[in-house]
């Protein structure tokens, strides 16, 4: 549909909550030259009718010491759409937001594990959830002030530790200004959460934020929220 090439700026690519994956990450960064070569190759081989588009992901990109260089490389290579997958904390710094928007980033995916103390425990740091939401808020506000249309998605890796919070995360993300929430399976299948996911979808509808569900069962009444094959923003 509207594909993104996913380029990991470093390892590890953490998309699991701290209770599922308790090990503290130690980051290994890829060099800008290495990433530039990969970006060039992606552009050369791009065949989709829209794009090329790239999502800079992997270990928290905003901790990469050369992120501005990497984004500039993506821009120079001719990517139509540049996105960053982040925990959102760094977006609560005005300089990061201005730098990202100025460099051409128009798409951010913010990982949210939950809200409040439960969410902080899953993210592994006190205050992490509020910081992520504040990052969304600042990014949206800055883009709005600059007249730049942006796509901000909150991505919730749903596991047995946070499934019952899904609707709360949707409400919080909507309030912060996200336009889209993606609930995606993380870890083992979880039984009996269809009603919670349906409530999360309905919470999104009421709060004017679209909710899509990937890899998790939702009732047939909410089938429109299922991610179609090849979909995902």
């Amino acid at each position: 549909m509207l594909p993104f090439a996913r380029v990991e700026v470093g390892m590890p690519s953490r998309r699991r909550c701290r209770l599922c994956d308790p090990a503290a990450p130690s980051f290994v960064w890829r060099s800008p030259a290495d990433l530039a070569a990969e970006l060039r190759e992606i552009v050369a081989e791009w065949t989709a009718p829209v794009g090329p588009s790239v999502m800079l992901a992997g270990a928290e990109p905003f901790l990469h010491p050369e992120l501005p260089t990497i984004v500039a490389s993506a821009r120079n290579e001719g990517f139509e759409r540049i996105g960053i997958e982040t925990d959102g904390v760094a977006l609560d710094v005005e300089q990061n937001v201005r730098g990202s928007l100025g460099a051409g980033v128009r798409h951010v995916r913010v990982t949210l594990f939950g809200v409040g103390p439960v969410g902080d425990r899953l993210a592994g740091r006190s205050g992490a959830c509020d910081a992520s939401l504040a990052g969304i808020r600042r990014f949206v506000r800055a883009a709005d002030a600059a007249g730049m249309p942006v796509a901000v998605a909150a991505v919730v890796p749903v596991c047995r530790h946070n499934a019952d919070q899904a609707h709360l995360v949707v409400a919080a993300a909507a309030q912060a200004g996200a336009g889209h929430v993606r609930l995606e399976a993380a870890g083992d299948p979880i039984a009996g959460i269809e009603a919670v996911l349906a409530a999360a979808c309905d919470t999104g509808t009421v709060n004017r934020v679209w909710v899509e569900v990937a890899g998790l069962e939702v009732p047939e009444s909410h089938a429109v929220h299922r991610v179609r094959e090849g979909g995902g923003a």
Partner: protein
């Protein structure tokens, strides 16, 4: 046989919904000739929404036909969104309606390759409904 999937798309002032799209849908759903043949979905999004985002939402619905409402506050973003949709899904038939294209229909169709047809008259309601029927019967 699968029903023709029609998405009615509007970019409204935040908090509002498109009366035009609602009319089109209401007329079409009361048209006995379309009964069971056409499935309508209305996407009422806010003006100022990133056109890429709009395109993404539309494409997720895998429409056969898009009925797009053009207003002065949404025309530019609507064109951009439909340009992306057309690039990603060339077979999707795009019908433009609303006050921003109806008076300049020929020009709009000539200028914009992502538009296939336009509605006219009272919010284009009958035209778009009939177009859907014609497409369904393979006559358009």
């Amino acid at each position: 046989m699968k029903p023709l999937r029609v998405v009615l798309l509007a970019l409204n002032s935040p908090g509002y919904r498109s009366l035009g799209c609602a009319y089109v849908r209401a007329y079409a759903q009361h048209d006995r000739h379309l009964s069971g043949l056409v499935a309508f979905q209305t996407l009422d999004l806010d003006a100022g929404t990133d056109p890429w985002w709009v395109a993404y939402r539309v494409l997720q619905l895998e429409p056969d036909v898009i009925g797009a409402s053009f207003t002065c506050w949404s025309a530019r973003d609507m064109h951009e969104a439909l340009r992306v949709v057309r690039a990603a899904s060339p077979s999707t038939f795009v019908v433009a309606g609303g006050p921003e294209v109806s008076p300049v229909a020929v020009t709009a169709l000539e200028r914009h390759a992502h538009l296939d047809s336009r509605g006219a008259g009272r919010r284009g309601d009958h035209v778009r409904g009939r177009l859907a029927r014609a497409r369904r019967c393979g006559t358009a």
